[in-house]
Amino acid sequence: MHMCVQVSIIFGIRDTVEWECQVLSKWLFSVAKRITTLRSEIEALHREITQMGADEIARRYFVMNAFDGALTILGIVVGFTVSGEGSSRQVVTAGAGAGLAMGISGGVGAYMAEIAERRQELRELEAHMHHSLKGSRMDRAIPLTAFWVALVDGMSPALAAAIPIAPFLLVGATITFRVAMIASIILNLAVLFVLGLFLGRVSKGSMLLHGVLMVGIGGIIVLILLFASSLP
């Protein structure tokens, strides 16, 4: 009797485990299916954006605005270095403020400009085709592509500004203000170098040459600022 009860308990546990495994495998299958659907939707969105030529514009905005962000912070840090005054808090506040302002102005400006330009292009196309494109895929893609371009335009200067400011967050606890300034300038030049590499890849030219060129431009800016600050 005791043996029969034990066997029935074991079979019961086995059935429960089998059922749980089935439920788990069904759940995993539905998750995999959702991921596949999401992936194909993201690919479709990317195709829409690419067909509208937004990739090219986004690349251009990325480089231009990241360059703006990096050089703005370089100017702020070099200015503080030359003045010999200031605290890490002031540098971080000034840098973060500048990065945020550039990000917001870039994003909002790019969105409004892209929407206006693309709507104008669509109207011209409608006049050429003698056919309304209202409600079509091209019409629906306008806010999406404008949003993508605005996102790149807003994020790129903010990101390029955030990286060189990071060492100042460690002042006091880990490093001194002077070390943070040197690290910030090095990081800034590194950001410019990476931008140059990206440009070189896009233009299918020498990545190293473009990287060195961008660092050279950054170095010239530093020298000009140092020279300007030495004037009476």
């Binding site: 067909q51 030529g53 494109l133 409600g135 079509s136 091209m138």
Partner: protein, 92 residues
């Protein structure tokens, strides 16, 4: 007895930004369409004029027109139409 739309030849214009391959893929997914053929008949700076040949056992014309409009295709005209009678089996 039903009438099924089996073949259509449509002339239309699309913007150059829209891919012809993706357009053909989209039209072929419509209910009742087995085959979609696109021939480019004219090209200008901004648009392409295409000849669509759609074949299938029972083409859903409404869905086809919607898909074309959604893909920014301006239909100029339907040049050829083939329909056929399909006898529905009677229950005995």
């Amino acid at each position: 007895m039903e009438i099924h739309l089996r073949r259509l030849v449509i002339e239309g214009t699309k913007p150059r930004e829209i891919s012809s391959v993706e357009l053909a893929d989209r039209l072929c997914r419509i209910h009742g369409v087995d085959e979609c053929e696109i021939i480019v008949t004219d090209v200008d700076s901004r648009t392409m004029t295409l000849k669509f040949t759609i074949r299938g056992p029972n083409i859903n014309y409404t869905e086809l027109r919607k898909a074309m409009a959604d893909s920014s295709v301006a239909v100029k005209g339907v040049d050829e139409i083939t329909v056929s009678k399909v006898r529905t089996p009677t229950k005995t």
